[in-house]
């Protein structure tokens, strides 16, 4: 029984978030009525000429720097010729043999490096809608700038593929060059995949899978395809090199043979555009513009602040959250407290990834900072902090406006004992429940104590006292 291993490489297309298209000044704004973000250049009217958007080159270089690539000092644009209604010029202006970036990598958590062969810039095509056999064409998306990131076939498992793509997504989001949302199409991935007997070196025949618009689909597609290929090989057949489409409904991949006959793209240098020279100076300037890479940040949060990995991952996921966190921990001795406040109470107010990404909250990082400092200096206790934070999230007010002087300083033991005794007296049925084994009943009595102290008491201490008193 031969065991097979999977070999895979990913081709990722990322829509850049520049304001204008790559070769004309039309807006790249998403949505919009069909054909309302167009001009003679991007619909390829006869006689029009392209002009390269400088931001596209900058963003591509940043993408390369953030993935450890070499930036080519000289590169050029080429025409990729093929006919399809979404391509108004019948060629796509792309880069063929002299891409802007080469030879980078992404490091995975298992220590393995997935090498990046190249990153190049190109224009996106328009959108086709097929209805009752008719084809409707909208060129709004035509000319939107893309970078294509091609990895070497270094991926050895579906988990690695997911992690590679997630890391790529995180990096690109971090450096601010794209929204990288798979569901919206600003992150697209084609998977090249083959299998070979474990321990062998030769690559098997690969297929290319397209049309997966979520990480889950990608995983399912890869899983199906690996099984399909292994089945073929085990029954003595061969894998045909072809492009396959992921069928979402059936969870399988289907051959696109016939629809995608071998293309001869007849690449040649784009005569309407000129050479791109990237200077060392420009590279350094852009390198300085890059933010701290997410992986470095992650390690820093874990090592310097002692945050557990899961918490650190949540905080680094979106720039806005990380920036907020870093502002909120200014001069704080327990960053963990700030982290807990954010991950616990603040996150629970944010519905979904979109809200988390925007991270619009009423509490400013400075205000959270001030609140936690009150805890650190002993002026308030944890439950008052939590209660106050809720109020801050509701009102946007600062802690100083919500906590009075008298609230701070906690409660002395005598007073607390008295309040506990009263609470016990007032909640006899709860006491009885507790004594008969219902541990949870204690919480109700504790609640009453906390209410009476307006949160000033230390909950842990109060609970201890209650138990003592009840036992008496």
């Amino acid at each position: 029984m031969i065991n097979y291993e999977l070999v895979s490489g990913l081709e990722t297309h990322i829509e850049l978030s520049t304001k204008t298209k790559i070769f004309c000044s039309c807006s790249t704004e998403f949505g919009g009525e069909p054909n309302t973000h167009c001009c003679p250049v991007c619909i390829g009217l006869p006689g029009t000429l392209p002009k390269l958007n400088e931001k596209v080159v900058e963003y591509a270089i940043m993408a390369g720097l953030a993935t450890n690539c070499e930036i080519s000092p000289i590169s050029k644009m080429d025409r990729k010729n093929y006919v399809y209604p979404d391509l108004p010029k019948a060629y796509q202006i792309s880069q063929y043999d002299m891409p802007l970036c080469k030879n980078g990598y992404i490091e995975l958590s298992n220590g393995r490096k997935i090498r990046i062969l190249r990153i190049h810039i190109e224009e996106d095509a328009g959108k086709l809608i097929h209805q009752r056999g008719n084809t409707y064409v909208d060129y709004n998306r035509g000319g939107v700038p893309l970078i294509e990131i091609v990895s070497e076939p270094d991926i050895r498992s579906i988990e690695e593929a997911k992690e590679y793509l997630e890391k790529l997504q995180l990096i690109m989001r971090y450096i601010g060059i794209s929204d990288v949302k798979m569901q919206e199409g600003s992150l697209r991935c084609d998977v090249n995949i083959s299998v070979r007997p474990e321990g062998t070196e030769t690559l098997g025949t690969r297929t290319e899978i397209k049309n997966m618009n979520s990480f889950t689909h990608m995983a399912k597609a890869m899983d199906y395809e690996v099984s399909r290929q292994i089945d073929l090989l085990q029954s003595g057949e061969t894998v045909v090199q072809e492009t396959r489409r992921y069928n979402e409904a059936d969870g399988c991949t289907e051959s696109m043979r016939g629809k995608e006959d071998a293309h001869d793209y007849r690449y040649f240098r784009e005569p309407d555009l000129v050479t791109i020279h990237v200077s060392d100076e420009q590279i350094e300037r852009l390198r300085k513009k890059l933010p701290e890479p997410p992986i470095v940040k992650l390690n820093r949060y874990m090592n310097e602040f002692g945050l557990p990995e899961t918490d650190a991952q949540l905080l680094i996921k979106y720039r806005n959250i990380a920036d907020y966190f870093e502002a909120a921990i200014n001069d704080i001795s327990t960053p963990k407290t700030v982290a807990n406040c954010m991950i616990g109470q603040i996150f629970s107010r944010l519905d979904g990834d979109g809200a988390k990404e925007n991270f619009q909250v009423k509490v400013t990082p400075e205000n959270l900072n001030a609140l936690v400092k009150l805890l650190e200096s002993g002026k308030i206790k944890m439950n008052l902090l939590k209660a106050t934070l809720e109020k801050m999230l509701d009102t946007g007010k600062a802690a100083s406006e919500l906590i009075s002087e008298s609230d701070m300083g906690g409660i002395d033991e005598e007073t607390l004992k008295g309040l506990c005794a009263k609470a016990i007296a007032d909640n006899q049925s709860a006491v009885a429940d507790y004594l008969s084994g219902k541990e949870k009943a204690l919480k109700a009595i504790l609640g009453a104590v906390m209410k009476a102290t307006r949160g000033r008491a230390d909950a842990v201490e109060a609970e201890k006292l209650l138990i003592e008193l009840i036992r008496q």
Partner: protein
């Protein structure tokens, strides 16, 4: 009227109110109405636009404002130059009815000078041809002899200007398409340095070869038009604009001591009478004090093949967009989209265009790219260097424009390759992106005009126009013959 320098004279006459712009324009409009049938120079009349512009110019004159150099001068544009709101067809069935929603930069520049557009002129389909006969409207005829072609691909412009149906016109030159028709029709035709004139709005044939340029009845007029349109255009990434000083201001410079180079290969295989005319022209230059320098340029010999490989490769790509979906002709009946596109293109394009698309596709296709396209690119580099070396030895290169005089009608359609071979003298200049001007230098045994070329180094239009002007003045009427039709000024 002296046939030389029409533009300045007309401008002065209008400014001094000897003639109004409306009157002048009317003369041309009426001449076109009566004589265009003989020549088939114009494929579209824009007389209403012309008259409106003329009225505007007269108002300006009435208010005492000074006229710009080309203001109010009746002219024409080759029908591959986009004119907003005015049908632009490249004389192809596939673009019949196409009305651009924007104007070419050169047209915007001229509109700002109130150029009086009389109409759009005839051309070989998509500028592919050397006789104007691949036009879907039929060819334009030679004003000197209606049994001969006006030349191509800017045959319509040459026919109109030569037949006195326009003072000047803008054509385009990819492999000789301005210079050859100018030569056939006894006119001056300038192909500027690649990058001197914006290509934005010029419907592309071969992107790294195409340039727009003027066809006129004199060198001075060509210089004036060149000066007006050679501006930097930010919409064209290959645009460089012009050198500092206007070419029209240095025409009178003496050319004593100017080194005129003759590359022997240019004279190979040209007809005897053409060679005689060239030799006479050389004598004129010697009499003007120029020094004649002879040298070899063997790389000229393969330039035709290099041109056709590279130009057709670019063309095959540039013409891929014509599929009937966004503009232009669409086939009436089809069973599916693939058939729709193939039928549209096959019905919409003429034979020569199809042949060039096929050649271009072939030389770029897998397995052939290295042997054809890549090799031709390398040879292009070699030829560019050869010209650079040549200009170490001389200031301008003198050569025939065409090895013969105007072809008879239908000569071209017989054998495509034989027609290609007639481009031998013009094509190398496009390969190198250099400026070249053709001026009349005599007549053949058949009585038809012969043209000679002056080729200059990059952005040395002033130099070649200076040399051309000096010859024109010295040779006088011997190289020119008025045509008895159109507007006789």
């Amino acid at each position: 009227m002296d046939s030389f320098g029409k533009i300045k004279k007309l401008s002065e006459q209008m400014a001094s109110k000897q003639i109004s712009c409306v009157e002048l324009t009317k003369q041309y409009v009426e001449a076109i109405e009566s004589d265009n049938d003989k020549l088939n120079a114009y494929v579209k009349s824009t007389s209403d636009v012309a008259m409106e512009t003329a009225k505007r110019v007269d108002k300006k004159i009435a208010s005492g404002e000074k006229l710009l150099p080309l203001e109010g001068i009746p002219m024409t544009l080759k029908d591959n130059i986009s004119t907003k709101g005015i049908e632009t067809t490249c004389c192809s069935k596939i673009l019949k009815g196409y009305v651009p929603i924007y104007s070419a930069t050169v047209w915007e520049i001229l509109q700002n000078q109130n150029a009086v557009l009389l109409g759009k002129t005839n051309m070989d389909e998509f500028a592919m041809g050397s006789s104007c006969e691949t036009s879907c409207f039929g060819g334009a005829l030679n004003p000197h002899d209606f049994s001969r072609v006006a030349g191509g691909s800017s045959g319509g412009v040459a026919s109109a200007v030569g037949g006195n149906l326009a003072v000047y016109g803008l054509g385009s030159d990819t492999g000789g398409s301005i210079r050859q028709p100018a030569s056939f029709c006894g006119l001056t035709g300038l192909k500027p340095t690649y990058g001197a004139i914006s290509r934005y709005g010029l419907i592309a044939y071969a992107s790294s070869f195409d340039q727009i340029g003027p066809i006129t009845t004199s060198v001075e007029d060509a210089a004036l038009v060149y000066d007006a349109i050679s501006l930097y255009d930010e919409r064209d990434s290959t645009s460089r604009g012009k050198a500092a000083a206007p070419a029209s201001e240095s025409l009178n410079k003496s050319i004593k001591g100017m080194k005129i180079g003759i590359a022997k290969e240019y004279l190979d295989g040209i007809r005897d009478d053409v060679n005689d005319a060239i030799q006479k022209a050389i004598k004129v230059y010697e009499s003007l004090g120029a020094e004649i320098v002879y040298f070899d340029m063997p790389s000229l010999k393969y330039s035709l093949a290099v041109y056709y490989i590279l130009a057709c490769a670019e063309a095959s790509s540039n013409l891929g967009r014509y599929d009937g979906i966004r503009y232009g002709y669409k086939t009436a009946h089809y069973a599916d989209r693939e058939e729709m596109i193939c039928k549209t293109r096959s019905e919409g394009f003429g034979d020569e265009v199809k042949r060039r698309i096929l050649l271009g596709t072939y030389v770029l296709s897998a397995g052939y790219y290295d042997a054809y396209y890549k090799k031709a690119q390398n040879l292009r580099g070699t030829l560019i260097q050869a010209y650079k070396d040549a200009f170490q030895k001389c200031d301008v290169i003198l050569a025939p424009t065409v090895p013969m005089t105007a072809f008879p009608l239908n000569f071209s359609s017989k054998d495509p390759v034989e027609t290609y071979l007639t481009d031998i003298c013009t094509v190398p200049v496009n390969i190198a992106g250099l400026p070249g001007v053709s001026i009349p230098c005599g007549f053949g045994n058949d009585g038809l005009p012969i043209g000679m070329q002056l080729i200059g180094n990059s952005f040395c239009e002033a130099t070649i126009l200076n040399a051309a002007y000096q010859y024109e003045t010295a040779a006088g009427k011997t190289a020119f013959r008025a045509v008895d039709m159109g507007v006789r000024l």
